[in-house]
Every structure is written in C-alpha cells, then in structure tokens.
Amino acid sequence: MAEYSKIAKGHFTSTGFAKAINLPFQPDYVEFINYTVANSAVASQNIARGFWDVSMGQGFAVIEGYNATPALIFDTVTTNGISSFSAGISLQYGAVVQHGGSPVSDFSISKASPAVVTTVGNHGLQTGDVIVFQNLAETSTTGMNQIAGIPFMITRTAATTFTINWDTSGSNYTAFNTATSTGNIGSYKKVLFPNIYFPGEIVVSAVTTGTTTTISTASQHNYVVGQEVGFRIPGVWGTTQLNELPNNTIPGSPIYGYVISVTDAQNFVVNINSTGFTAFNVNQPFVSAVGLTFPQVIAAGDVNTGGVQISSGSPLYPSPQFSFATLNDSSTINGPAIQGAFVNNTRQGFIIGAGAGTVLTTGSLVGAAGNVIYWRAFLSDLAVN
C-alpha cells in the first residue's frame, strides 16, 4: 500500500552553494528542475534537471543538461549530488579542513581585528556559515588555541579569504598557519546545521560599555528587540558585572538585560548601564586555553514574559513580533520560530549539492547564483527493490 507516502514541493533561489531543505521527513526520492536554465538560451554545462533515489546512494544524482554541442544529454553526479539528512548531535560537522586536504590544502589566521582567515584553495564558504577551529597551536607555547572550539560565523571576503568576529591582535595571540605549525594538525570544520542550535548560548566576542551596552558575538545571536538576555562572563574575561548572578543589590534575583536594538547578525545593544564596569578582555593567554570557559550570552525570555511595563516611547515598544528571522535561517518547517524559545531541534530533509557531472564536468547541480529551482521530494511507504 502507498497510502502513507509523503510528498513535498517547493522552490528556492540558488546561491551557487549546496542547499539544504528542511522537511518533516527524510525523502527517498527527490527531483528538481532549474527554471532559470530552462528559460534561458541553451548553454553548455547548464544542468536543467536532476533526479535522485536513495538506492543510488547518498550524494549521487542523475542529471539532464547541455553538453558542448550543446545538446541535451543525461549524465550522473557521483559526489556532492543529492542526499537526505537527519540532523542530530552527532551529525553536526562537515569535512575537516586541514593541511594537505582538498580543495583547501592549508589555511592561516592573522593577528587582526577582525581576524582574517586565508585559505590555499577555494574555501567554498559563504557569509553566515558557521565553523569551528581546532588545534591552533603554532608551536607548543604559541598560536591561537584560545579560540579553538568556539563556533564562528564567517564573513566571506573572497574565494580564499573570510573573517571571523574576534580580535586576535592582542599580545597573547600568535599568527597561525597550518603549513608552518608544529605537526600541521590545525583544522576547521563547518557546522552543518547551525540553526538547530539557535538562539542557544552564544559566545561573546566583545563588550562595549556605556549607558547602554553593545555586545558582539562570535556567531549569529538571532535576537530581536525586546529579547531578554542573561550573561555568563567568567572572571578572566573581565566584565563580570554583567553576570546574571550574584546580584548584590537584590540577592537571588537574576540580572537580565533587554535587547533595545539589533545592529546586525552579530551585534546588538542591551539596556544595561555598564558605565564603570570592568573592560572586556579578549586577550587571553595561550596557556589558559586548557579548560577555558567562554563568555556567553543566553536567551532568557522576552518583554512579554519579563514583567516589564511597555508603553509608547519605550525603547522596547512595540513588543517583539517573532516571525521568520531575516538575520539567519532560523525558520522551521513547522512555522515561525520563536527566538529565545525552542527552535525545532529535529531537522531532516535533503540537500542539493553543488557537484558536477561525469560528462558535464564544470556544471553545478544546484545551478548558478540566482537560478530558481523547483523541487519535489517523496517518501514512499512501499519500495520494491
């Protein structure tokens, strides 16, 4: 019987990079058509359609595109094709990028604010992607291990460079390069589905004190005006007066702040008067990286639950309208996500990769940036193999 099969459809505009589609199921068959290619002049290497069945194997696809003639032909994709996914704690990272790898064979991190990462080879990342570094010891006593393990949102500046929102210009940081470091074991890897963990606890990368307090974060904070937040700043990072507890004025009562403006995906302002607070210290010693707890900001509610009176003229007015976020991909298949509350943690669906064919060797399955892709996905309850 096939009465419980599931079908979904949709469309998206390609960015030129692999596209993940969230669904309430893991499809076993996917097909798509590239409307832009179909609606354009015939051109070699353009891929007009793609098909995938789970029995082909993950990352494969059958494609239909134009060869050099150009004539429409069938071809296959054997890597970075179409695949299904079910995200969980153990499946959150992509391939490890390290010395001798491909397409990135080495990378370096500069002493700068923000730190600049330069890769040897096209990194393939785009602004908004989240990565985690590991083993950033240039020597046994120098390097950037202080930032190893922090999830960073990257800002793409070129095919071989991107920046991370961290000040590594301090005296305790030494420029890092996988090619010259001891053992060449430094690496980074992409967090495949960072929106699973949004808003989550976010690592603070900078604090600007004043009558209001400006917070910079290492990855997307995902907050909106009216978001109630709490801080956990370990002593070595300086600005401990922001911490939720202990509250010396009202013992036992957590200190929370409200987001009163959002500058961008990694910067926001809270209504805490931090004048006179200890300066934030990002220049942590290299040796302290062992057991170092990072400074964090966490979502603790919003003005609707915090007992704060809101009226016209208040910086928190009107109350936040939680809807599809524009700062990152936090919308869910089940509808708008409530920042500061639970974002669906059980992601599944499929990915259309940017792989090429065996004949159409320079084509891209997911198309070029701006291409409009229409897709359909199926999950059959009866498979006859």
Partner: protein, 225 residues
C-alpha cells in the same frame, strides 16, 4: 485498545516507550542548545574542555547553590555498613555512559559509587554514583558532540539541573497523545490500522540560572560507541 490483540498490545507498548523517549530527546537537545556552559578545567588531559576533575563538580554545584537552585534529592544518612558513607542532598547530572570509566577513576577522590550509598532505596536505576552535591545518572542517549573539543576530541554535555530549571508547556490542552484509528477509518480498503503519537508541547527553561551544561572530554581512551 484490546489486550486480546497481541500484536497491537505489543506495538502500543513499544510506541508508548518511543513517545516518552522522543520527549526526552527533544528536551535534551533543547538544553544542549540553550543552557549556559561551563568547560571542565579540573582534568589532566590538556584539552578544552578537559576531562572531568573533582573540582569541576564542586564548581558547578557551587554555581547552582549560589544561584539558589533547588536540589532534587534530599541526603542519605550514614549507616553502620562497611564501605558506605552518607550522601549529600543533590542536583541531578545526566552524563554519557561513555564517561563511566572516568567516574570509576575518580573513586577515592570524591566520587561515591551508587553501590557505596548507605541504602539504595532512593537511587534511580540509571544512577551511577554521586559527587559532592551532585548525583550522576548515565545514559547512552546523553548528548555528545563528536570531535568538538580544542584538540578534536568528543565533548560530553553533562547537564546539571536544579528542580526549577526546566519544564514543558502543553499546547491545546495536552502534551502528547497516543492515537489509534482502526482499519475502517485508516484507509479505503480497511487493511491497515493506524497507531501514532503526536506532540503538542514546547520545551522551556524556566530558570536559566538553575541549569548548567558541564562540558568535558574523556580521560580514558578505547571506550566508546
């Protein structure tokens, strides 16, 4: 639901267990994503976080105490039994079973095996032991971020909770349903029945100062999934 129908009863029982497990996993993942973290630094493996050291338990328990979190369990009074000792009133900590060898290594440094409690009547089946104000539960479903530490080792999320830290919120007046629709209502040919669960709940941290994820790596090697 008819007890006489063996297959149906068996499947219902399994699905009911799966329903509760799904609820636990959703809450687990939520806590991983949203609760504050403390990186273990009391261990000796040179990673970040380090493996668990006794001082890490003390730090996280003190943090929750300072934040006026409520403990789950009252203490167990000492008894005149060889090898046992009293157990403090405690918070719960959920850890991975992969850390059990590390806990064994802390026996003598402050970790008390559940077997060394004066009485086991209040111990849960999954309880491995206690340290200071923390009673440790282990599960193979405890969250682990593979290869996520400074040195690329697995990071274990040891969630320490106070009583008022978490809850789930019912929506539409219920939290979850186990549903049975007989074949007549499940398909035109009345061949298949439907047995399903559905959830209508949101997980919530009600007091974020009363919960901490104590992140750690592992000292012992060669033990794993």
């Amino acid at each position: 639901m008819q007890d006489q129908e063996g297959v149906l009863a068996w499947v219902s029982e399994r699905l009911a267990v799966a329903m509760r497990q799904a609820e636990d996993l959703i809450l687990r993942d939520y806590i991983v994503s949203a609760a504050s973290q403390i990186n273990a630094g009391g261990g000796s493996n040179g990673d970040n976080p380090t493996n668990l050291g006794i001082s890490d338990f003390s730090l996280v328990a003190t943090t929750l105490d300072t934040n006026n979190a409520y403990k789950f369990m009252s203490g167990i009074e000492g008894m005149d039994r060889f090898g046992t000792g009293p157990v403090r009133s405690a918070y719960f900590m959920l850890s991975s079973t992969e850390l059990q060898t590390d806990f064994d290594g802390l026996v003598g440094s402050g970790f008390k095996s559940q077997w060394d409690y004066p009485t086991n009547t209040s111990a849960l089946p999954s309880e491995y032991g206690s340290v200071f104000n923390i009673r440790v539960l282990t599960s193979s479903e405890a969250p682990v971020a593979r290869g996520a530490s400074k040195n690329g080792n697995d990071v274990y999320y040891n969630t320490v909770v106070g009583k008022q830290a978490i809850t789930h919120i019912n929506q539409d007046g219920y939290s979850m349903n186990l549903i049975y629709r007989d074949p007549y209502y499940s398909g035109m040919l009345a061949q298949n029945a439907t047995l399903a669960v559905k959830f209508a709940q949101a997980q919530a941290i009600t007091q974020d100062t009363a919960i901490r994820n104590l992140l750690s790596t592992r000292l012992s090697s060669g033990v794993g999934p």
